[in-house]
């Protein structure tokens, strides 16, 4: 499989802090790749650079299009990266607090007729699409046991549901690459498995996932390949079984 995402010698410094320092990673199409590492090792920063949140200090990020052409996406703005088919979720959830659960999910779909200012005042022009999107959204919410919360304000949700909603919101697009930042943190074991089963299902349908996760008990059963970051550098990589037995990895985790 060709790589949908390639990160080459990527570095990001914050003043003296080298959050990323020469990281090279490839994510093959239609795979689930894990990214693990102790706290502060640079995982979130990597996502932030890939999605255009930060400009890298050095290195490049390459994305493969549907038609097979490869393009540099570092330096693009976050909204442009999203429209290229890369969706990310946030480790610290960023939901829209005045909107309901349903509306949060409905913000995501990119090409909405009712988001064009000249069409928006005329309900007849966008009502059909809006109803279709609502059906899709409710379907997704029900699937993850959030059917009871469709009309809830997100401020009333539990931590686990907030986390889950972040991911569900990302799944409302037709993107091809998903970067999930700790999707299972705080989610109970059963639902976490359900989430990863669903992700595996989507992978079968042709989507690609790049996942940061601390819950190794769940993650390792689903990923094809794992990268380990430590202090902004790659410490190890390989199949899940190889990585968990790598003494360097064990030491990094125990050493903090």
């Amino acid at each position: 499989m060709p790589n949908i995402l390639e990160v080459r010698d990527l570095a990001k410094y914050f003043g003296g802090v080298r959050a990323l320092d020469g990281v090279t990673i490839s994510v093959p199409e239609k795979s689930i790749v894990g990214l693990i590492g102790p706290n502060g090792s640079g995982k979130t920063t990597l996502f932030n650079v890939v999605t255009g949140f930060y400009e890298p200090t050095r290195g490049e990020v390459l994305l493969r299009d549907d038609d097979g052409s490869v393009e540099r996406i570092d330096g693009l703005n976050p909204n442009e990266v999203f429209l290229k088919g890369v969706v990310r979720t946030f480790q610290v959830p960023r939901l829209f607090t005045s909107l309901t659960v349903l509306e949060n999910v409905l913000v995501t779909p990119p090409v909405q007729i009712g988001e064009r200012v000249l069409d928006a005042p005329f309900k007849s022009r966008w009502e059909k699409q809006e109803r279709e999107l609502a059906r899709k959204a409710v379907g997704l919410l029900k699937r993850f046991g959030m059917g009871d919360y469709v009309y809830s304000r997100v401020t009333e949700l539990s931590v686990a549901h907030i986390k889950l909603l972040e991911t569900i919101r990302g799944l409302m697009t037709s993107a091809t690459l998903y970067l999930l930042d700790e999707p299972a943190a705080g989610v109970d074991y059963g639902v976490a498995r359900e989430l990863f089963n669903y992700i595996r299902g989507l992978r079968e349908e042709g989507l690609t996932f790049f996942i940061v996760e601390h819950r190794l008990d769940v993650l390792m059963d689903y990923v094809d390949y794992v990268y380990v970051l430590h202090n902004g550098k790659l410490l190890s990589e390989g199949k899940p079984s190889e990585v968990v037995n790598d003494p360097k990895v064990i030491e990094a985790y125990i050493g903090g």
């Binding site: 255009g52 930060y54 393009e71 330096g75 976050p78």
Partner: protein, 328 residues
Amino acid sequence: MRRLKMPQVPWDVLSSLTVMVVQYSLLYMIFAVPLTLSYRTTKVINFVHSNFVTYGAYAAILLNGLYGNRNMLLAAALAFTVSGGIAVLNNVAVFRPLDKKGAKPVALMISSMGLWIFYKYLLYTIIDLATYFSRINFVSYPKIVYEWIPSLSLGSVKLSSSFIATSLSAAAMIAGLYALLEKTNLGRAMRAVSDNPTLSEISGIPRHMVVNLTWLIAGGIAGVGGVLWTSYAGSITPEAGDSMILQIFTVGFIGGLSSLTRTCIGAVLVASIENYGITLLNQFFGVETSYKPFLTFITLITTLVVSPPLGAGGGLPYKLFRRAGRSA
């Protein structure tokens, strides 16, 4: 190459202009450094800051008009107390309760706008009353000549007593803040609160006291700036602070509302651009000097576009300028 005809700029004009630029630089420092100081510790965008300056000026004016005071130290002490007191009162009565109720930073800023209007017209009312009872025109008050402060002349360069007072005050402010922030526990606590409010709370620093003290110092210094203004401006009106709010905030923004050093540099920059700039435009293109604020506004816009203070008061990770021409 075409030879530009260089008009003769008389040396004494240039030197007095430069003295003016230096004086404005120092004044803007005294006005804007406390703005940066208060923002970085309290995270409130404070429009009342311009009231601090005006109230400081009027503390001196009322003291002068009603009691004949010409002692600058006394005026400064009163101004520090009044403006610093207002700052602390705002925090205790408005900002902290709002913060406790979980109001967003925008709500705090809007409340500071409400306070700004309130204090502005409160001052007008006070001035009306003072004028009514004393028959002195306080709405437009002439420059105050303070006693004891010498003036200097170095050759053809004349340094007014106002210049001397402003220089000494600026030096005292910088030295005092340096000593406070770098050498005392309180100063370290102030920096800790600005770096990480939640963490500093956990580590046992009495955050509320630190915040109140910051407000006192910030309001107080700006008030003293107002006193200096009464020794310099041709006439002082209740609009004194408001008429300089563009300059003060621009200077603060250049400092990113976080760095005191960069705020001082901003003060020099803004004072130079507007005074040298308008003199040049006036000399060569006949632009009226009242267009001076346009230069400041251009500086503001340039700052926001080129080096936006993103950390301060939110910010969007959106690049207006991108490295062009990339492919793989």
